[in-house]
């Protein structure tokens, strides 16, 4: 029987199901490769919800963790930093 019911109310339903022993949800460390910024966002289980949290369209970035590309449906391992690499470039004289 999962203990998740008495955990942090911020935790999402899917987290409660899959990570029952975690006391508090681990924040996700994110690195934006274009701006060089490092930030932490509340735990998100999947890439799609992380991008939603950051307000980013999945078609405009690569999401990289542990030297692998992640798809929106992939899970995030909160022990490792996630690199967000924007792909859109601009300028009309290129």
């Amino acid at each position: 029987m999962p203990e998740s019911k008495e955990q942090n109310p911020d935790e999402t339903e899917s987290v409660q199901e899959n990570e029952p022993r975690r006391r508090a949800p681990t924040p996700i460390k994110v690195f934006n490769a274009q701006t060089g910024d490092h930030l932490e966002v509340p735990f998100q289980k999947r890439v799609s919800s992380l991008l939603l949290e950051l307000g980013i369209d999945s078609e405009t970035v690569l999401v990289i963790q542990k030297d692998s590309l992640l798809l929106p449906g992939d899970s995030i391992d909160p022990r490792f930093e996630v690199e967000i690499r924007p792909v859109i470039s601009g300028g009309s004289g290129r």
Binding site: E59, L69, R85, S89, G90
Partner: protein, 320 residues
């Protein structure tokens, strides 16, 4: 999500084709798309020597890798724009990429060629930076192609670049630009043939290719692009694409299907008929826009800068 072809774990999804690929199948897909584009638009002749414009970004470095894999004869050309740290990084990454792979590369500096760095040119001529940048690149690419006996200039413009440019041109009914917005422009009046072999592939696909092939490119954005309209148009198209995958490609290729009828390209009507008095490159008036730009920056230019040719009488008041 699994690869639609071999069922291994997918590393990238392509919503407009409703598909996903593993790294190997993605590589096959991307190379097929480039081959198809080259063939469909008859971009290269068998013995063509290619000059490739290389900025140090994902598209141009990836294109260099792809054209080399296709066993084409490619010479890279990089123009250092003198935009502080950004240009230093771009030039360094381009050099390292070329050196590691044994690719041939020419590097020129806008400061030596035009008399000032791009930020200074933009500031002192009151031109938008991207416009001064485009003008200088067109001139210097064409000059390098002639100097190094290259028949065709390839650039890394991708589907997002072309679709966003098309949107901008249509919104402002730029008939002259629409007529020339083709993936392969023939040589005319001393201007070299130009091709865009990546026009079927999105920015995301090109970034994915670069990542999977270990290409170390400049990720940060050119600081002069901050208010570039093109980024705004790209965003609009991406918002539409999200609601309706495939629209971007349909929009751009739909235009190409109709462009001959709607905006017929008429080479004989437009080629530059004159030679610039200063640099002897093709131009529409007696002094080309690049030399005029150079003169605005330095009214008493060193004749050596003009390929050793002395300008005869220079009118400093010639306007664009």
């Amino acid at each position: 999500m699994n690869c639609r072809v071999c069922k291994k774990k997918a590393v990238t999804a392509i919503p407009r084709h409703n598909t996903a690929f593993c790294a190997d199948c993605f590589d096959r897909y991307l190379m097929d798309q480039v081959r198809k584009t080259i063939k469909e638009f008859r971009m290269f002749e068998p013995d063509d020597r290619i000059l490739l414009a290389v900025s140090g970004g994902k598209d141009s470095l990836a294109l260099w890798d792809i054209l080399t894999r296709l066993e084409l004869d490619v010479l890279g050309y990089h123009l250092d724009l003198g935009i502080s740290e950004y240009s230093r990084e771009s030039t360094e990454k381009t050099r390292i990429f070329a050196e590691k792979r044994g690719y041939r590369l020419i590097v020129e500096e806008i400061e030596s060629e035009a008399g000032a760095t791009l930020p200074v040119i933009a500031e002192s001529t009151k031109r938008p930076p991207c416009s001064a940048c485009g003008l200088s690149k067109r001139h210097l690419f064409n000059r390098a192609a002639r100097q190094y006996d290259r028949q065709v200039l390839a650039t890394g413009h991708n589907l997002d670049d072309e679709a966003s440019r098309l949107l901008g041109n249509i919104l402002h009914w730029q008939d002259g630009y629409l007529e020339k917005q083709l993936p392969a422009l023939p040589a005319e009046g001393g201007l070299i043939r130009k091709v865009k072999p990546l026009n079927r592939l999105t920015e995301k696909e090109m970034a994915t290719y670069a990542y999977l092939n270990g290409i170390d490119y400049v990720i940060r954005e050119c600081p002069m692009s901050a208010d570039a309209k093109q980024i705004f148009y790209k965003k609009i198209l991406n918002d539409i694409e999200k609601e309706s995958p495939g629209t971007k490609q349909f929009f751009y290729f739909g235009f190409l299907d109709r462009s001959q009828k709607m905006f017929p390209y008429s080479p004989e009507a437009s080629p530059p008929s004159e030679k610039c008095r200063m640099c002897h490159q093709p131009c529409y008036t007696d002094i080309c826009s690049f030399c005029r730009l150079r003169m605005k920056l330095s009214p008493f230019p060193d004749p050596e800068q003009f390929n050793g040719t002395h300008p005869d009488v220079i009118s400093l008041h010639t306007e664009d």
